[in-house]
Symmetry: C2
Subunit: 392 residues, 2 copies
């Protein structure tokens, strides 16, 4: 068989292969981006499913519109967007199969082979992989503790005026855990207008604020429709239903809708209703507060353990929200090799290399603190720190 050029260049990630080993339940895994499952609203979902099918009957199982179930679009708009300063109507919203599908569609919508796109250094590997599928070339913008450095971004935009879009994760960045400052958010919205370049604002963790206030989104500063905002319920409700959304200018949303139509027609009619009924019958904010309490405790515990046992030379992000922290090791260290060693002690993390779109960086690692119960956080962090002490 003769595949397409892109397919021929696809490879399975070495990390994915390593991560398969982690399915062993003895391993204390800080690797995944999994939310804590014990918080999923199971009973509510059981009773809502019965209610939905009893009330809506066949409609709940029939084909629906590509744009999404209207009461869900309305609830997202009114509950998750407008209160956070974003303006629009349900015509600005498309329901997607997680925000991953929105990122993948963005690749198809914008990228021709060898087009340049701009990402943070490092950036979310699922986005990098999706964009790479369309033949993108990456320009990486360095970050500091306030997020993407905008001076570097402007340099890049002047150097590459044909860049197709800027992809950013301003809230509790994956993998670094960094929060972009409010000044930079404003500046990014301005830059989009000046350079007439779309900004893809990916915010899967924005609502998981563990410290301080939630900062306004870049989208809330958008005046000319250049910001495309991606949200998801994978971290605040549950990931198994695969529900996310794109919020953007109506002209842009219409293009995403056309793509979704030929890609998979629509998201699950039942799952969309489960979420819509949940949003309209329960208090998601209250539920998120419960999640945050648990994650805050786990995060604090991991940070405490690292402060106690981690070699002082190693820097890590004191993330103010989200699921991750990010460790910088000595420059000569390779965290893929370190993972192999760590697995001997039944502890796992994600090596940082794959988060660098153009590769070449090996001395970082990402830790997740949301998925493991407290005693395993202590034990796992201890094992990892002890392993690292051998190198310092």
């Amino acid at each position: 068989m003769e595949f397409s050029k892109i397919t021929k260049s696809m490879k399975t990630s070495e990390i994915r292969e390593i991560l398969k080993l982690i399915e062993n339940p003895e391993i204390i895994s800080f690797a995944g981006g999994l939310p804590a499952p014990e918080l999923f609203p199971k009973d509510e979902i059981i009773s809502l499913t019965a209610e939905i099918i009893n009330i809506e009957g066949n409609e709940a199982l029939q084909y629906g519109t590509t744009e999404g179930y209207n009461p869900l679009r309305k609830a997202i708009l009114e509950q998750r967007l407008i209160p956070f300063g974003m303006k629009g109507s349900i015509d600005n919203l498309l329901i997607t199969s997680g925000s991953q599908q929105g990122l993948d569609f963005s690749g198809r919508l914008f990228i021709d082979e060898d087009d340049i796109i701009i990402v943070e250094k490092p950036s979310y590997l699922g986005a990098i992989n999706a964009f790479r599928t369309y033949g993108a070339k990456f320009v990486e913008i360095p970050m500091d503790q306030d997020g993407m450095i905008v001076e570097e971004l402007e340099k890049a935009l002047n150097l590459y005026p044909k860049a197709k879009f800027i992809y950013t994760i301003p809230d509790f960045h994956n993998p670094t855990g960094i929060t972009m400052s409010i000044e930079r958010r404003k500046k990014l919205a301005e830059i989009a207008n000046i350079y007439k370049i779309p900004i893809l604002e990916d915010s899967p963790y924005g609502e998981l604020v563990l410290e301080g206030e939630r900062l306004p989104t870049i989208k809330s500063f958008d005046t000319d429709g250049y910001v495309i905002y991606f949200g998801t319920f994978s971290k605040t409700f549950c990931p198994g239903l695969r529900l996310g959304y794109i919020f953007a200018d109506e002209n842009v949303i219409n293009k995403y809708v056309t793509l979704k139509q030929s890609s998979d027609l629509q998201c699950s009619s039942l799952d969309q209703r489960i979420l819509a009924y949940y949003l309209n019958n329960y208090d998601l904010d209250k539920h998120i507060n419960k999640i945050k309490q648990v994650y805050r405790k786990r995060r604090d515990l991991m940070f405490e353990c690292m402060d106690k046992w981690l070699p002082k030379e190693i820097e890590y992000t004191r993330s103010r929200g989200g699921l991750f922290t990010w460790l910088k090791l000595r420059e000569d260290m390779d965290t893929v090799k370190l993972l192999e060693e760590a697995l001997k002690f039944n502890v796992a993390f994600v090596p940082g290399g794959s988060f660098f779109a153009n590769g070449g960086v090996k001395n970082y690692l990402r830790l997740n603190y949301s998925n493991m119960p407290e005693e395993r956080i202590v034990e796992g962090t201890k094992r990892l720190c002890e392993l690292l002490q051998n190198y310092y």
Copy 2:
């Protein structure tokens, strides 16, 4: 914003715009491809959802593997594939968001811009649109009452030796309702081996046999792994859960899995379990028999009405299964214009033009007989026939 080349060439279909009008419930619509919703197993889904969440707990709402929920893959293999002569293991199966997603992925897996692919004349418009998104050029193979004419196919393969794949709907073809003969199925499997070209066998209606026996799939004659089989539960269970599958050689499936990973990670964990539990706790064959009884009645009624009232010059397919029949009108007639007229009498169909990948044909129309209750089938067919009588 500067979109990709493909995006710039996208247009909204004129038909989609017309079909929006059909949402009016007064209209008797033979337009959609919708299954009859009154047959959806609603009570079973309510009780299964409770059972699933009670038994599997958090797992049912958490992230799962990209390949799909293993008990679902196993049930599909054992219940829907092996009994129909197809051989393999669950490693040959990927769960997709309806078979539409499988078709879309096939476009990305095989098609570079301007690549040639081979389709029936006419063919399913959702597939045509998905392939077109990747810049495909189409070679159309004429059909007769036994399906794609293989002599014409071989001519095309000799003329276009670089063609990337052959796309076919052998069972109760959409839109024509035609069933491919067993000899041609065998011949297609041979051709795939000789020309080393993949065959995409799309069979959304294969299990909806209304007359005679189910014919063996092309895949069941596949010896060298060139046939990629697409199945779905949209017509036999319910479309709202968006569950289909790809069944193919393991090397090929692995490439589809890599694509799914970057596209949307996985299908709904809950919906996959609902279907798996249904397959393992109820009798889908019995359920399909119920569906077939209803559709058979509706089909027979529509055919009776057409035999009574349709101008004798108009040919239509006496479909032996599936959801559709296909009418050939006088060559100077344009069914897009006819639809506008029909809507004045509150009856709708799909004009046939969009099913021709290279356009240029206007005098066909597709009727669906599965979605309307019997009295509306009589009334709607009568109105349509009366309208057509004005032209003959």
